[in-house]
C-alpha cells in the first residue's frame, strides 16, 4: 500500500471544495472585485516553497473570485509568475516585459531583472484549470464556455452540478449546450444525481468515444449503487468497446498510411538516384539529414529575425531551401565523384559510403553531436477528431505532402523533356549522347533532383523525428527496402511498397509488439520477394531482362 494513501483523496477534496466555492460565488456574481489588499495578499501568498502550501494559496486566490484571478492563475500555470528577488513583488513576466500581478502596473523589461520563478507542478496546474473552468462557465464567449464545460467533464465533482444547471438554463449556443449537457451528465453520474438522473446520464454519455468518459462509465459500471445504472453503464462500455474495435481498424489504417508516407518520402529520392540512375547511393540518408538541418537553420533564422506571427511559415521557406541545398550537394557529388563511376555501379557503393561518413562528420563538427530542436509550427500541431478517429495534424500534412511530391515527380519524369532525357541517359548513356542529349548535364541534374527530393523529405522528417547527425542512418535501410520491395525503377512501386509496408507494420504492431512486428515485416519482405523476384511493381517483358 502507498505510504500516503489519502493523498489522492485530499486532492480530490480540495478541488471539490474549491470548485464548489468558486462556482457558487461566480454564479452569484460572475466577476466580483475583491478587496485590493486582500487580493494582493492572496497573490503574494502564492510564493510558497512547498507545493501543498501553494495549492492552498491557489485555493484562496480562486475563492476570492476576483476578475483578475484568472490572469494570475494562468501566469502561474504557464510558468510566467515570478518574484522580484529584491523588491519581493510578485510579477508576471510575459513577452519580455514585467507587470505587477496584483495591480497590473507595468514594471519594466524582464531582461536582466533578478527574478525567481514561482513554479507550478502538475497538481497545481490541474487545480488552476479547474478553477479557471469555473470562471469561464459564464464567460461571454461560447468557445470559452465549451472549454470550461470540457474542463468540468475532465474533473467532474458533484458540487459543480448547480452551476452547470444554471449555466445550462442560460445557454443559447447549441455547441456549448451540448458540452454542458455532457458535463452535467458526467457530474450526475459520478454521484451527484438520483438513480434516474444517473441512468439518463449513462444514456447521454454512451455515444462517446472519449477515453475519459469511458473511464467514467467504467467506474459507474463497477461502483454505482444502483444495479440498473451499473448494467446500463456496463452495456454502454461494451458498446463503446465495440465501436472502438471498429474504429481501431480505421485508426490502424491511418497510422499505417502515416508510417508509409514517411517511408515513401524517405524513399522517393532514392527511387531516382538508385531506381532510375542505378547509383547505390549510401549517402541518401545524409541527404535527408541535410534537409532536416536546413529546416533547422531556416527555423533559427525565422526565430532570430522575424516576428513570431510568421514563424509558422518557416516550413514553407524550408522546403525550397532544403531542395536547393541538398540538390546542390547532389550535383557537386555527381560532378566531383559519381560521374567517374558510371558503368562501375558497385564502386558507387564505396564512394557514396565514404561521402556519407564525411557528411555525417561535417554536420557533427558544424552543428554538434547532439539533437537539434525543430518545432512543429502551430498549424502542424495537435490533432483533430474525425468520425471518432484522431488524426494528428503533422501526420496528415505529411501524408498529403508525400503524395504531392510523388505526383509532381512522376509528372515531371513522364511529361517533361528533361524527364525523358533523364530516362534515356540512364538506360543507354552512349546512345543518348549520340542522340544529342548532353549526358553530363543530365546526370548531374538527375542526381541533383534525387538529392533535392531527399532534402525535401528531410524537412518532413524533421517534423516527426529528431534532427541529429545520425538521422540518415535510421532511414537508409528502410528506404532501400521500400524501393526494392516496390520494384526498382518504378515510382508507383515505391508508393505501393511504402504504404503496404507501413500498413502491414501497423496492423502487426498491436498484435505482436513493435519489435516482433518489425521482424515479421522483414520476414514478409523476404518471402514476398520469392514470389516476385523483381518487386511488387515488377515490369515484365524483354525490355527488363538482364
Amino acid at each position: 500500500m502507498p505510504r500516503r494513501p489519502s493523498f489522492k483523496l485530499l486532492l480530490a477534496l480540495a478541488l471539490t471544495a474549491m470548485i464548489g466555492a468558486v462556482l457558487l460565488v461566480s454564479a452569484a456574481a460572475p466577476a466580483r472585485a475583491a478587496d485590493a489588499a486582500a487580493f494582493e495578499a492572496a497573490v503574494t501568498a502564492l510564493d510558497q516553497k512547498s507545493f501543498g502550501d501553494k495549492a492552498k494559496a491557489v485555493d484562496a486566490l480562486a475563492a476570492l473570485g476576483d476578475a483578475r484571478t484568472p490572469q494570475v492563475l494562468r501566469a502561474l500555470s504557464a510558468g510566467q509568475l515570478v518574484r522580484h528577488k529584491e523588491t519581493g513583488r510578485i510579477l508576471i513576466a510575459a513577452g519580455g516585459t514585467l507587470t505587477d500581478a496584483a495591480t497590473g502596473e507595468a514594471v519594466g523589461p524582464a531582461d536582466g531583472a533578478p527574478l525567481a520563478k514561482i513554479v507550478a507542478n502538475n497538481q497545481i496546474r490541474t487545480q488552476i484549470e479547474a478553477a479557471l473552468g469555473a470562471f469561464l462557465l459564464f464567460s461571454e464567449n461560447p468557445a470559452e464556455r465549451i472549454t470550461a464545460a470540457r474542463q468540468v467533464l475532465g474533473n467532474p465533482t458533484p458540487e459543480a452540478a448547480p452551476a452547470l444547471v444554471r449555466a445550462l438554463d442560460a445557454e443559447t449556443d447549441a455547441g456549448a449546450r451540448e458540452a454542458l449537457t455532457r458535463a452535467l451528465a458526467a457530474v450526475q453520474l459520478l454521484g451527484g444525481g438520483t438513480a434516474a438522473e444517473r441512468l439518463a446520464a449513462v444514456e447521454t454519455l454512451s455515444d462517446t468515444n472519449d477515453p475519459a468518459l469511458k473511464a467514467l462509465l467504467t467506474t459507474a459500471a463497477a461502483n454505482d449503487p444502483d444495479a440498473a445504472v451499473r448494467e446500463a453503464a456496463g452495456d454502454a462500455v461494451k458498446a463503446i468497446d465495440t465501436r472502438m474495435a471498429v474504429l481501431e481498424v480505421g485508426q490502424n489504417l491511418i497510422f499505417g498510411l502515416s508510417a508509409g508516407s514517411i517511408l515513401l518520402l524517405a524513399a522517393i529520392g532514392l527511387a531516382i538516384t538508385f531506381g532510375v540512375m542505378g547509383v547505390i547511393n549510401m549517402a541518401h540518408g545524409e541527404m535527408l539529414m541535410l534537409g532536416a538541418y536546413t529546416t533547422f537553420v531556416v527555423q533559427e533564422v525565422f526565430r532570430a529575425t522575424l516576428p513570431p506571427s510568421v514563424f509558422g511559415l518557416y516550413l514553407v521557406v524550408a522546403i525550397p531551401a532544403a531542395f536547393v541545398v541538398t540538390g546542390a550537394v547532389g550535383v557537386a557529388m555527381e560532378r566531383g565523384i559519381i560521374r567517374f563511376l558510371y558503368g562501375r555501379p558497385l564502386e558507387t557503393l564505396l564512394a557514396t559510403w565514404g561521402i556519407s561518413l564525411i557528411l555525417q562528420q561535417a554536420v557533427r563538427s558544424l552543428f554538434g553531436a547532439t539533437n537539434r530542436e525543430v518545432a512543429n509550427p502551430e498549424w502542424m500541431s495537435g490533432s483533430l477528431e474525425l468520425l471518432g478517429l484522431s488524426l494528428t495534424a503533422n501526420r496528415i500534412v505529411i501524408i498529403l505532402f508525400a503524395f504531392a511530391v510523388l505526383g509532381g515527380l512522376a509528372a515531371f519524369l513522364r511529361w517533361s523533356s528533361m524527364g525523358l532525357n533523364m530516362r534515356a541517359v540512364t538506360q543507354n548513356r552512349r546512345m543518348a549522347s549520340a542522340m544529342g542529349i548532353p549526358t553530363g548535364r543530365v546526370d548531374a541534374l538527375t542526381f541533383g533532383l534525387g538529392s533535392g527530393i531527399a532534402g525535401v523529405a528531410g524537412v518532413a522528417i524533421s517534423q516527426v523525428a529528431n534532427v541529429s547527425p545520425n538521422l540518415g542512418q535510421g532511414y537508409i535501410v528502410d528506404s532501400f527496402m521500400v524501393v526494392v520491395f516496390g520494384g526498382v525503377g518504378s515510382l508507383w512501386g515505391a508508393l505501393a511498397g511504402a504504404f503496404s509496408l507501413g500498413v502491414v507494420n501497423k496492423f502487426l504492431e498491436p498484435m505482436a509488439g513493435a519489435m516482433l512486428g518489425k521482424i515479421l515485416v522483414l520476414v514478409f519482405i523476404i518471402l514476398f520477394i520469392q514470389k516476385r523476384p523483381r518487386g511488387l511493381f515488377a515490369l515484365r517483358g524483354r525490355a527488363f531482362e538482364n
Partner: protein, 231 residues
Amino acid sequence: MLTVSDIHLHYGASHTLRGVGLTAQKGRVFCLLGRNGVGKTSLLNAVLGLHPVSRGAIRWEDDDITRLPTHQRARRGIAYVPQGREIFPRLTVRENLETAYACLPRGERRLPDEIFELFPVLKSMLHRRGGDLSGGQQQQLAIARALVTKPRLLVLDEPTEGIQPSIIKDIERVIRLLGQRGDMAILLVEQYFEFARDLADDYAVMDRGEVVLAGTRDSMEEADVRRHLTV
C-alpha cells in the same frame, strides 16, 4: 562534307585504326566495307565521338570536330544508327523517337509522317516499350529515330541486319532518295555486297584497321572488293 584524315584509334593497348582517311560528301552515299573485326564500327565511333582518336582529325562542315563531345556533334546534324540497335529498352517507341528532339529547336519537335510510311509497324506500336520489339522492329526503330533528327550526315552501321527483305528494299530506296536530295551526306557500313554496290556513290574497303581500297562507284571492281572480303 565530312573529312576523316589519318586517324588512329586504340582500345587500351590494341591499335585498332591505323591512319584511316575518307571523305563523304553531301548528296552522295559513302559505303564502307570490310570483314568482321577490321575496324568499321570503330571508325564510326570515332566520327561520332564515342571513342577518342589518338591521332588524326575529323572535320565536318568546315569545322574541326575531333575533340567535340558526342552530343554536340549530334546537334551539328550527325545522326547515328548503331550496330546492335541500341534502342532505349524501357522507353516506349514514341519516347524513343522523341529522344531525337534534343537536337531540334523547340518549334520543329514533331515526328514526321514519312517515318511511319517507311516503317508502318512502328505506328501501330507507338506505346509498346522499345525493348519488347522484335529484333527487326528494333532495327527499324533505330533508323527512324535517326531520321527524326533531320540529319545532314547520316551514319549507318549495317542497317539491314535482321530486317526482312521487303523492308530492306524500302530502306534501300529511302537511302538513295536521301542521298539524291543533295543536302545530306550518308556514311554506310555494309557487309552485304550487292546492297552496297547498288547504293554506293563512293566506297572504301577496310582491312586490319586500314583502308585498302577506295574509289567511286564507276571504279568499283567486284572481284577486287570481294577479294578483301574473303578470308
